[in-house]
C-alpha cells in the first residue's frame, strides 16, 4: 500500500529505462541508450494525457514500461486498481501483475500485426476473459458480441478472421480486446497513426465516446500534434528520453515555454494555404539517445541556446499553474503558440 493523492489514477515517478549497448565477442556493456530518462507525470480519472514527441524520443517505451510490457530500469508507477487500492506496479509479483493488467490495457499502433491472423475475432476478443478465467461458454460469447457492438462492429462477424476486416475495423477489434476486462486505464500507443484520415476520425470519435461512457483514462501517445490537441486534456512533450514540458492542452498550445515545443507547433503543416507562415525550421535532427549532447539535449538545435545550455542540464520546474518546463530560460523567452503562427 502506497500513498497517492486521491484525485489520481496513475502517478509515474522517476521512470527510467536504459537499454545496454553491447559490443564485441563477449557482449560487454559499453554504454546505455537512455530511452526513458527520469520521467514523471500523473493522470486523473477520466482524463486523457497526451504524450507527443518525434521518433526515438522514448514515448512508446514509456507507455510499455508503465504496463511493464517492457521491464523498466527503475522508477515507480502508482496505480489505483478497481477496488480503489493504490499499488506500485513496479513491485508486483507475476500473479498480482496479471491481476492488475485487467485494469490497465494497451491499444497498439499497427492493426495488422497486433491481431493473430490465425484466430477468429471471437477468440481474439475473448482471450483476456479466458486467460483470467472470467467467463465461459455462452456467457463469454454474449459478452464478446456486446463488446463488438460497443466498438461499432457487427456482432454477426464473430467467426471471421482478421484479414476479412479493413484497417479501421481491425483497430476496433483491438479496442474491443483492450476493453474486454473492463479496464479503467488504457495506453493508446499511436492508436490512429496507421489509419487514413477519414478512418482516423472515426476511431478518435469512438475512443472519446468510450471514455465518456465507461469513465476511462487514457495515456494517448502520438507524434501528430493535431490529434494530440484534439483528444488530450493535458499534454507532455518528450525529447530524447526526457519530458521537456507538461501543461494543460490549452496552455501548451497557446503559450509554450520550451523552445522545442514551439518548434514542434510551428513545424506542423496546417491545412490552410492562407497561413503559409514564418515558421521556425530547426536545423539538424533529433539527437541520438545512445550518444546525447552535453547539457540540455536540445541545445545544438535550439535557436535561443546560450553558453549555460551547453554545460548544464535543465531540470523540470514549475512555470505556471500545472505548467512545467525543462528549460533554463522558461518564462523568460517570448515563445509563439499555435495561434501566433
Amino acid at each position: 500500500m502506497t500513498d497517492m493523492s486521491a484525485q489520481l489514477v496513475l502517478d509515474v515517478q522517476a521512470m527510467k529505462k536504459y537499454f545496454p549497448i553491447k559490443k564485441g565477442f563477449l557482449q560487454k556493456t559499453v554504454g546505455y541508450v537512455k530511452a526513458v530518462d527520469d520521467v514523471q507525470f500523473h493522470i486523473r480519472p477520466g482524463e486523457t494525457f497526451g504524450l507527443v514527441g518525434e521518433s526515438g524520443c522514448g514515448k512508446t517505451t514509456l507507455g510499455r514500461c508503465i504496463l511493464r510490457a517492457i521491464e523498466p530500469s527503475s522508477g515507480s508507477v502508482l496505480f489505483r486498481d478497481r477496488e480503489g487500492r493504490v499499488r506500485d506496479v513496479m513491485q508486483l509479483e507475476a500473479g498480482d501483475l496479471r491481476a492488475i493488467r485487467r485494469d490497465m490495457q494497451l491499444i497498439f499502433q499497427d492493426p495488422y500485426s497486433s491481431l493473430n491472423p490465425r484466430m477468429t475475432v471471437l477468440n481474439i476478443i475473448a482471450e483476456p476473459l479466458v486467460c483470467n478465467g472470467m467467463l465461459h461458454g455462452a456467457e463469454l460469447k454474449e459478452r464478446v458480441a456486446h463488446l463488438m457492438e460497443l466498438v461499432g462492429l457487427n456482432s454477426r462477424h464473430l467467426e471471421r478472421y482478421p484479414h476479412a476486416f479493413s484497417g479501421g475495423q481491425r483497430q476496433r477489434i483491438g479496442i474491443a480486446r483492450a476493453l474486454a476486462t473492463e479496464p479503467k486505464f488504457i495506453v493508446c500507443d499511436e492508436a490512429v497513426s496507421a489509419l487514413d484520415v477519414s478512418v482516423q476520425a472515426q476511431i478518435i470519435n469512438l475512443l472519446q465516446d468510450l471514455q465518456e461512457k465507461l469513465g476511462l483514462s487514457y495515456l494517448f501517445i502520438s507524434h501528430d500534434l493535431g490529434v494530440i490537441q484534439h483528444i488530450s486534456n493535458r499534454v507532455g512533450v518528450m525529447y530524447v528520453g526526457k519530458m521537456v514540458e507538461t501543461a494543460t492542452t490549452q496552455t501548451l498550445f497557446a503559450s509554450p515555454q520550451h523552445p522545442y515545443t514551439e518548434a514542434l507547433l510551428s513545424a506542423k503543416p496546417v491545412p490552410d494555404p492562407r497561413r503559409k507562415s514564418n515558421r521556425i525550421i530547426l536545423s539538424g535532427e533529433v539527437a541520438n539517445p545512445a550518444n546525447p549532447p552535453s547539457g540540455c539535449y536540445f541545445h545544438p538545435r535550439c535557436p535561443y541556446a546560450k553558453d549555460k545550455c551547453k554545460t548544464e542540464a535543465p531540470g523540470m520546474r514549475q512555470v505556471g499553474d500545472g505548467h512545467f518546463a525543462a528549460c533554463h530560460f522558461a518564462g523568460e523567452l517570448k515563445l509563439k503558440g499555435a495561434s501566433g503562427l
Binding site: 518525434e54 521518433s55 479493413s166 484497417g167 479501421g168 475495423q169 487514413d196 484520415v197 477519414s198 478512418v199 482516423q200 476520425a201 472515426q202 478518435i204 470519435n205 472519446q208 507524434h223 501528430d224 500534434l225 493535431g226 490529434v227 490537441q229 484534439h230 483528444i231 498550445f253 518548434a263 514542434l264 507547433l265 510551428s266 513545424a267 506542423k268 503543416p269 496546417v270 491545412p271 490552410d272 494555404p273 492562407r274 497561413r275 503559409k276 515558421r279 525550421i281 530547426l282 536545423s283 535532427e285 533529433v286 538545435r301 499555435a338 495561434s339 503562427l341
Partner: protein, 345 residues
C-alpha cells in the same frame, strides 16, 4: 505573375488497369491533369485511391500486370528537334526514349530513401552515374556537378558525403541525397511520392522548405503526392483530390481549402484534427474505401456520401464538370445546385 502558365505535361483520360484472375482492378480510371512549369500539383487521397499508380504511369514503371491507357503528352520544348509532344503511353516501357525521359526529363523521389539507393555503392557514385547517363560524358565534370548538387540540397561537407554509403546518413540527410540525385540532371518535372511521410515533423519542415526553394530556383514543375492535407496546403499551387482511381475535385489550392465543392473533400477537411481548430467532434466519413474491383455503376463515393440521392448518384458514371473557372468537380449534386442557381438568376 505576368509569365504565361506553360503546360509541360498533360494527362488525358489516363487509365491503369490491372488484369487479375479475380477481375479487373481499376487502380486509375480516367485521370485528366495538367502540370505547369514552375508550379506544384498536389495529388491527395487516402490509401488505395490510385495516387501513387498515377505517378508510376507517368514514368511507365507500373508493375505487371498493369496496363496504361489514354494519353500522357510531354511537351519537351524542342529538346528532341520538334515541338510536337511525346505521348508517353505509346513508348515502349523498356525502350531508349522512355529511359532518356526517366531521370532526365522526369525524376522521382520516394517515401523510403533507402529503397532508392543501392546499399553497396557510395552516394557519390550513384549520383555521378545518373549524371553520366543523362548530362555529360566527362567523369570529372560529373563529379563536380555531383558535389554542386549536394551543396544545393543543403548537405554539409559535400565532398565527404560523396564518399559515404547510404546507411551512414540519417533519415533527413538520406532524403536530401535522394532529392539531389533526382535533381542532378535538371529534370523539368519532379514527382515526389510521399517524400516526408517517414520523417519527423521538424525534419519534414526542413525537407518541404528545400523542395520549395529548389522549385523556385530551377523552375521545375513538381507533382506532390501525399495523404497529408496539411502538407498539401503548404506545398501546392493546384490540387487534385483522388478517390477510387478518379479525380473528384481539381482546382487551385485556395479554393480547395476555402470553398470545396465535393462532399468527399469537405468531409476529408472536416475529419482532420488540426492545431488551429477549436475543439469539436470530428466529422468522420462512415464506412471504408471500397476495393476498386467490380465496382457498381455511378459515383464511387455513393455508399459513404451524406448527400447521395438514390437513383441519381448511382445511376451512371459521374463526369468531371467545370463548375467555375479552373474548378472541376465530379458530383451530380453540385452540378444540379449550380444549374438551379443559374435558372434563378
Amino acid at each position: 505573375m505576368g509569365r504565361q502558365e506553360e503546360v509541360i505535361l498533360e494527362m488525358k483520360d489516363v487509365k491503369v488497369h490491372f488484369h487479375l484472375d479475380e477481375g479487373v482492378l481499376k487502380a486509375v480510371d480516367g485521370v485528366d491533369l495538367r502540370i505547369k512549369r514552375g508550379k506544384t500539383l498536389g495529388i491527395v487521397g487516402e490509401s488505395g485511391c490510385g495516387k501513387s499508380v498515377t505517378s508510376q504511369a507517368l514514368l511507365r514503371i507500373v508493375p505487371k500486370p498493369g496496363e496504361v491507357q489514354g494519353k500522357i503528352l510531354l511537351y519537351r520544348g524542342g529538346k528532341d528537334g520538334t515541338d510536337e509532344p511525346v505521348d508517353l503511353v505509346k513508348l515502349d516501357p523498356r525502350g531508349k526514349q522512355i529511359r532518356d525521359i526517366r531521370g532526365g526529363e522526369i525524376a522521382m523521389i520516394f517515401q523510403e530513401p533507402m529503397k532508392a539507393f543501392s546499399p553497396i555503392h557510395t552516394i557519390g557514385n550513384q549520383i555521378i552515374e545518373a549524371i553520366l547517363l543523362h548530362t555529360t560524358d566527362d567523369k570529372e565534370e560529373a563529379y563536380r556537378l555531383g558535389v554542386n548538387i549536394l551543396q544545393k540540397v543543403g548537405m554539409s561537407n559535400p565532398e565527404q558525403r560523396m564518399g559515404e554509403y547510404p546507411h551512414q546518413l540519417s533519415g533527413g540527410m538520406r532524403q536530401r541525397a535522394m532529392i539531389a540525385m533526382a535533381l542532378s540532371c535538371n529534370p523539368s518535372i519532379l514527382i515526389a511520392d510521399e517524400p516526408t511521410t517517414a520523417l519527423d515533423v521538424t525534419v519534414q519542415a526542413q525537407v518541404l522548405q528545400l523542395i520549395n526553394d529548389l522549385k523556385e530556383k530551377s523552375d521545375t514543375a513538381v507533382i506532390f503526392i501525399t495523404h497529408d492535407l496539411g502538407v498539401i496546403a503548404e506545398m501546392s499551387d493546384d490540387v487534385a483530390v483522388m478517390y477510387l482511381g478518379k479525380v473528384v475535385e481539381y482546382t487551385d489550392v485556395d479554393t480547395l481549402f476555402h470553398a470545396p465543392k465535393h462532399p468527399y473533400t469537405k468531409a476529408l477537411l472536416n475529419s482532420i484534427p488540426s492545431v488551429s481548430m477549436e475543439k469539436k467532434r470530428l466529422e468522420s466519413i462512415e464506412g471504408t474505401v471500397p476495393f476498386p474491383m467490380n465496382l457498381p455503376q455511378g459515383c464511387g463515393f455513393y455508399s459513404r456520401c451524406k448527400h447521395a440521392v438514390d437513383g441519381v448518384c448511382n445511376a451512371a458514371d459521374v463526369p468531371l464538370v467545370e463548375v467555375a473557372a479552373g474548378h472541376h468537380v465530379r458530383c451530380l449534386m453540385v452540378e444540379s445546385e449550380r444549374t438551379e442557381q443559374e435558372v434563378e438568376a
